[in-house]
């Protein structure tokens, strides 16, 4: 039952994120989407992925809030209750196939290797090089923004 409730919340918040006009409300709905996704991972015993998703979502949403605030024109238009209700209803409606066509997933738990083992023993070099890529991209983004600032 809890999976169905979270799935419905996930789809409703995804609908709100796309269809709400105001950037701040839209980003808030996207935050709910990320939170529900993280909760689904947690309930499905993917704890590390859930924590990572949560951390990534916090970072992405902080930047999105900042850029949403910067880019949006300052209008005081609050979303109308009617539109909100329609969006929530539409989200609930499209979550019906997810709930009705529920098929229990195969439970062959323990047949593979552990997550920690896979991450550090098999993909250790990937992690190190991914760190280098992340550093390079952070530097590149800083250079893009710095060039713009210097020209302005």
């Amino acid at each position: 039952m809890i999976f169905e409730i979270i799935s419905t919340g996930l789809l409703i918040s995804a609908c709100l994120a796309i269809f709400l006009d105001e950037a701040i409300y839209s980003v808030s709905a996207l935050a709910c989407t990320f939170f529900f996704t993280s909760l689904l991972y947690l309930l499905n015993d993917a704890i590390y992925v859930a924590i990572f998703q949560f951390a990534v979502a916090v970072g992405t949403l902080a930047i999105l809030f900042l850029s949403g605030e910067m880019l949006s024109t300052k209008s005081e238009n609050k979303p109308s209750v009617k539109k909100l209700l329609i969006l929530v209803f539409a989200g609930a409606l499209i979550s019906i196939p997810t709930i009705l066509l529920s098929i229990s997933s195969p439970s062959i738990v323990g047949s593979g290797i552990a997550f920690e083992e896979a991450l550090w023993d098999l993909r250790g070099m990937d992690i190190v090089f991914q760190g280098l890529v992340l550093l390079t991209v952070a530097l590149g983004t800083a250079i893009i923004l710095y060039e713009k600032k210097r020209r302005a």
């Binding site: 789809l11 991972y41 990572f52 930047i63 880019l71 062959i108 593979g112 992340l134 713009k148």
Partner: protein, 101 residues
């Protein structure tokens, strides 16, 4: 619970937003929804099968997704400051006007 249908629905919402919305921020959010739907599918399948390697790959995929988000948002801020709007149609119009001048 069939998570394939859930992730497919999320991807469908994202694709709809990508095709219909003209705001750059909304387009970016649609792409985020698509990637979230895709990773949801993979995480649920790998965790139910008990395969740690799938989750390890997905950690790397999350990092790449974050990197893409950072670069796209930086470019988005620059474009919006240059053209004064985040609407794709208006940006195209301004660009065409500049070309004709």
């Amino acid at each position: 619970m069939d998570f394939v249908i859930l992730s497919l629905t999320m991807i469908a919402i994202g694709i709809y937003g990508l095709l219909t919305k003209r705001d750059l921020l909304k387009v970016f959010m649609s792409v985020e929804l698509i990637t979230t739907g895709a990773t949801l599918n993979f995480v649920m399948l790998t965790s139910s099968l008990g395969k740690g390697l799938g989750e390890a790959f997905l950690i790397l995929a999350f990092s790449t997704d974050t990197v893409i988000s950072g670069v796209v948002l930086a470019l988005l801020v620059i474009v919006c400051k240059k053209y004064g709007t985040s609407d794709i149609n208006e940006i195209l119009k301004t660009d065409q006007k500049e070309e004709t001048l």
